[in-house]
């Protein structure tokens, strides 16, 4: 079994695999809409490698972090665009 860490995604606590990216962790729990575009459309990961900025979420209070480029960490707080626009 892989080690896991507990993160919070939009107030939902989930256990995710150590070493994975925030993007992979979010997709793993069924979150596909990461941010809301300037005209209000849902967007999710596109490039998977830090180029497109479509997977931006708020991580530990810092907005516009690329979820595909940040590793999960125990106690991490992730807020998606869908939640921040709710």
């Amino acid at each position: 079994m892989s080690d896991s860490v507990r993160i919070t995604v939009d107030e939902r606590r989930v256990d995710v695999v150590v070493g994975t990216s925030v993007a992979a962790a979010l997709l793993g729990i069924g979150t596909t809409a990461f941010r809301v575009s300037v005209t209000g459309a849902s967007r999710g990961p596109l490039c998977g490698m830090g180029i497109c900025h479509e997977c931006r979420v708020t991580i530990d209070g810092v907005a516009h972090r690329r979820a595909c480029m940040v590793a999960v960490a125990d106690g991490m707080q992730v807020i998606t665009g869908a939640a921040s626009h709710a």
Partner: protein
């Protein structure tokens, strides 16, 4: 630019003889070669670890077989390695160069006498109706997320686009339990025949896919076929493909579309290096038009890992002042480069891919600019000023190449910082 660096550099700079930007094949080879000569080397990379995109592996999992010896060579060298580090500016100083970077959420400044740029490539993403829906990803993007641990078990997947990347990604997704419905290559059959189409047909892959699924999985491989539209309410639900005569609509959970690779040249351009036809111009020693700045791998022209390794070694030796030792590698480099140029021509996107866009199809995803808002008579600078296309968070990294494909525009100038950074980084505070 003087925003953060004067402050940070004063007492907190990394100092090296050679700074290598990028830890993919080219950067690893350059750093290992330079470190072997006794130079102080620092390697900076945005990712989680060594390997770049092609040899990406999740932390704690072993890298691909052919990557291991190179990763071992770098890790075993004296080169310092910094990951999660985005270099956002490169400029000349009296004694060499300064690289401004953001490591995680902290500013980082590196002073180096010489610099090797091994910044890799990104996917060519061409717009089509529905490409902004969650669940539509790049082909390499899906591969990257898969390697980082995303599950695709049972997902109905359509892969489309062009180039040799489609096949290994199809194989990976099938291997990971996806229900692969169709692999659609836009290039015509004659072009594709040369490139091992049998890879995805490996019975073992289908056996593995079938094991995850209750029924037999038969993925089709179609040439001369491209996506005309994706549809969904919140996520992608259906994709329509066409060969120009007939169309077919498939229900899917994941649509992966990529049209090959585009060199990432922003850092070279901000440093003032000459770029021609989207590629960084280098001499036989891999040195750019800026003396002391070398470039290797995909930024000098898409060529794959083998070419990147050779170019990287040449660049590393040259930057270390051992250019004479690199001469023995020239013949291999030149032969690989010739092969790369023929591949580039073969998988060029077909003209029909322009026609799939409607006037309301978004081109610039950061600023939600539809194609119809853009006048083909403009320049990319005018499109920025009038519509904000290319001015969003990705700074034109996605729409720039798309607008080039549609209108023949060359990208606008690059200004530092070449990636969005935190305000705290700009003012140099940790």
């Amino acid at each position: 630019m003087t925003y953060a660096s004067d402050f940070v550099c004063a007492d907190q700079a990394d100092v090296a003889d050679i700074a290598v930007v990028g830890a993919g094949p080219a950067g690893m080879a350059a750093a290992a070669a330079a470190a072997r000569t006794g130079q102080r080397v620092v390697v900076l990379d945005q990712g989680f670890g060594e390997g770049g995109q092609i040899w990406r592996h999740a932390p704690g999992t072993p890298p691909a077989h052919d990557a291991r010896s190179w990763i071992g060579r770098l890790v075993g060298s004296t080169a310092a390695r910094r990951f999660h580090t985005s270099v956002v500016d490169l400029r000349r100083t009296e004694s060499g160069f300064v690289l401004d970077a953001e490591q995680g959420t902290s500013p980082l400044c590196v002073q180096a006498t010489r610099v090797v740029l091994a910044t890799g490539a990104r996917e060519l993403m061409l717009p089509f109706p529905g490409w902004t829906l969650p669940g539509v990803m790049g082909v390499g993007g899906a591969q990257a997320l898969l390697k980082m641990g995303t599950s695709v078990v049972g997902k109905r997947v359509v892969i489309a686009g062009s180039g040799p990347l489609l096949l290994p990604v199809a194989a990976s997704l099938a291997n990971a339990g996806a229900q692969l419905l169709l692999v659609a290559e836009q290039a015509d059959f004659g072009v594709v025949a040369r490139f091992g189409v049998s890879l995805w047909r490996r019975p073992s892959l289908l056996m593995q896919a079938a094991r995850y699924r209750a029924r037999f999985v038969s993925a089709r491989y179609a040439t001369g076929t491209w996506v005309s539209e994706a549809v969904g309410s919140s996520d992608v639900q259906r994709v329509t493909v066409t060969d120009g005569r007939r169309t077919e609509t498939l229900e899917c959970d994941l649509l992966c579309v990529g049209h090959g690779l585009v060199p990432s040249t922003e850092l070279a351009r901000v440093a003032g290096c000459a770029v021609s036809h989207g590629k960084v111009v280098v001499n036989a020693q891999q040195e750019t038009s800026v003396s002391g700045v070398y470039c290797a791998g995909e930024p000098t022209g898409i060529g794959g890992a083998d070419l990147a390794l050779v170019e990287g070694e040449i660049a590393g030796l040259s930057a270390a002042g051992r250019g004479a030792d690199a001469v023995r590698l020239f013949a291999e480099r030149n032969a690989l480069r010739r092969t790369a140029l023929t591949m580039e021509a073969a998988f060029a996107p077909r003209a029909e891919l322009r026609g799939v866009c409607r006037s309301d199809t978004i081109v610039c995803r950061c600023e939600d600019v539809p194609l119809g808002a853009i006048d083909p008579a403009w320049s990319s600078r005018q499109a920025k000023l009038y519509t904000r296309a290319g001015m969003g968070s990705c700074q034109g990294r996605v729409c720039g190449a798309a607008l080039e494909f549609h209108f023949g525009w060359t990208p606008d100038t690059v200004r530092p910082p070449i990636e969005p950074v935190l305000l705290s980084t700009l003012v140099g505070r940790r």
